[in-house]
């Protein structure tokens, strides 16, 4: 373990971790596009993508490959990458601002808030009016949820993490119940539509979905990078932050809005995907350390890699069926979460 870690560290030192991760991301994205029920060779896939984004204008391919690659698989992979970036970056920010490595957007009611927003859109038939209602409502639900959770846990300028997580669970459950009430009153086809959304599947994601969330995710994550230094200072504690001139309350509010935008965007195109925001920042923290200037970008890229790979696994493990990608992330994430809990228990319970 330590030998592996040190050799990874050496590699990072030599090549720079961010370029290395970008290359890795591009490779897994092409691989994710190439592999499927119909296999298209890796370099053909790459050339199809390049042709369609205007970089290789004079190539020809076997009939039928181009639409499969560029209209079906590639947007799906892009959605996975964007959602992964959003979730992992949000998780990193959340852990930093709450000074706790167990914080995750999913634990704090964001996903269930977004879920309630989504089910309302379906119930009211707004999804058919415009595809923009879904993200808007999901965002509103997510922000409302995290706002309530935050206010419930806020005491005398401090946010005790245990209170935060417990109120997150309570609010999640409550919003889940509201969602179920709406579902009970819905028609079968609406329930199916919601279920499809909520299992965290990337099946059938098209370019519209990419267009829908591309800007909100890229912008909110980019703005999170701007707060790297503030996050580092926040890790020292609220009063320490005030001593060097950082207004912790205001910074947290801005960051909560950014997290809500990024997470809600991710959730509205990918459904409820858990644990990405928890384990990716953890792994990156082990590799690059706690400094957000490097941790945040690497986690963002790492999240994209992780979700693209998980999506790929979800498509190939039980061909011709497909598992929801949320199932894969949960299968990988839950044991890791437990491992961390047990380890922190052994080390004296620093985590909670």
């Amino acid at each position: 373990m330590t030998k592996a870690t040190s050799s990874i560290k050496l590699m990072i030192h030599r090549f720079g971790i961010i370029p290395a991760m970008i290359v890795t991301l591009l490779v897994v994205m092409v691989a994710g596009t190439a592999i499927g029920a119909v296999y298209v060779p890796f370099f053909d896939t790459l050339r199809i993508i390049l042709k369609n984004i205007g970089l290789l204008p004079n190539s020809t391919f076997i009939e039928g490959q181009e639409p499969i690659i560029f209209l079906v698989r590639f947007p799906r992979v892009l959605v996975a990458a964007l959602a992964g970036t959003a979730l992992a970056a949000s998780g990193t920010v959340m852990q930093g601002m709450f000074r706790n490595p167990m914080a995750d957007p999913g634990l704090l009611g964001i996903s269930s808030g977004a879920g309630l927003g989504a089910v309302l859109v379906i119930k009211l038939g707004l999804a058919a009016v415009s595809i923009f209602f879904m993200p808007l409502f999901a965002f509103a639900g997510a922000f409302l949820a995290i706002f309530i959770v935050y206010m419930l846990s806020y005491r005398k300028g401090k946010v005790p993490v245990l209170t935060l997580i417990l109120s997150g669970i309570a609010i999640s459950t409550f919003l889940g119940a509201l969602t179920n009430i709406v579902l009970t009153l819905s028609y079968d086809y609406q329930v199916k539509e919601f279920l499809f959304w909520s299992t965290g599947g990337l099946d059938g994601r098209r370019w519209e979905h990419v267009q829908l969330v591309f800007l909100p995710i890229i912008i909110s994550v980019a703005l999170m990078f701007v707060f790297s230094r503030d996050l580092n200072v926040l890790l020292m504690g609220e009063e320490e932050a005030k001593s060097v001139g950082l207004n912790a309350g205001r910074t947290r509010t801005i960051l909560l809005i950014l997290i809500s935008i990024a997470t809600a965007s991710a959730v509205c195109v990918s459904g409820a995907i858990s644990f990405v925001g928890l384990i990716v920042p953890h792994i990156m923290r082990l590799i690059v350390g706690p400094n957000h200037k490097i941790l945040l970008p690497t986690s963002a890229i790492g999240g994209a890699i992780f979700l693209v790979v998980c999506d790929l696994i979800s498509r190939v493990v039980v061909i011709p069926f497909e598992l929801g990608v949320g199932i894969i992330t949960a299968l990988l994430g839950a044991p890791y979460f437990l491992y961390l809990l047990l380890r922190s228990k052994k080390e004296g319970g620093m985590v909670l």
Binding site: R229, N232, M236, G237, E239, E240, S243, V244, G245, N291
Partner: protein, 407 residues
Amino acid sequence: MNTDNIIEIHNLSFEINDNKILKNISLSVKTGEFVGLIGPNGAGKTTLLKCINGINKTDGEIKVKDRSIQELSDKNLATEVSLMHQNTAISFPFPAIEIVLMGRYPYLKRLQRESKEDYSIAKKNMEYTDTSKLENCPITEMSGGERQRVLFAKTLTQETEVILLDEPTASLDITYQEQIFKYSKERSSQGITIIAAIHDLKIAARYCTRLVLMNEGEIVADGSPEEVLTSENLSRVYGINALVYRNRITDLLDIYIHKHNSQKKSEKIHVLGGGGSASGVLRQLYEQGYNISAGVFSHGDSDIGSAEVFGIEHLVEKPFSEISDQRNNENIAFIKNSDMVILCNMPFGNQNLRNLEAARYAKKLVIIEDDSPETRDFTEGKAVEIYNQLKKSAVAVINSAQLHEVL
């Protein structure tokens, strides 16, 4: 308004849940002063520091360099005033240099990177606090002393004219306890104003140019260490019996805290001592509340210091002279008046031989003998002869550890 004052506080009150932590505090601090805030736990020292730093929002007026801190932005205030907190818990493994660089936060714009100058300021302060070697060491792997010195370097890197320290050495080993105060003293002599909440009164007296004694949210004394650290002030505020004196060995203010027996005893005891032999005896008798007298000491004897600290009536003879008739008579008068006389484990020479002779007049004589009298006799046997006679009439011959048994 006096422009010499870098900090001006007027009628500052602060409460948490209707619980008044600070009551009408007014305080002015001059540039370059090293002010020690002292007082029992819960006196409001930390709260006051946090008010000056803007962490605690108050209605009272706090001015730094003639500008109210409410008018200053968070970052602007952080370039004027820095605060080193007590027990900063950092559970993420930042290397020391990153921590120290956080002191540059108020000077950097959002997207600005730390410049070479920022790095050189940070490194200079790490060198100053002897933490250069720890530059890349994670803060989570440091000892308490190392961590505090790194945090102090961070505070210095903030380059403020006012530095607030909240119990900077509360959890440190004795080796490191005074280091931060030494650094602070140096800074204050360079014109930096320092206000520190300090638990240890002796350290406060040693390093601070001015002490502010707080109790239950109020300032009860303010002035030089000698003015503030008086037996009366300490006894009142801490609810203990304290004696403050200048330690003759270190020439520093020292504090003696004792469990004073509130009931004064009417019994009178006279102590014959000298050469430092009486100090411990006088202290024990004082604690028990006896009516004490002592003598005859030779001028410059350390026993005189003890007698002065405890406010004991005592007789002193001129330096290097034999006890005069006058002193001898006074001594005998004291002895005759006393219910008990204690003869301490003192050396005998021709100068103080009359002390021994006077012991004959004791109604009740207790002799303390830690060392055999022969080794203490510098009168070629004269003293031992008298001493052995006295031993026969003494009600007890004990060593000093047994003193409480005869009282």
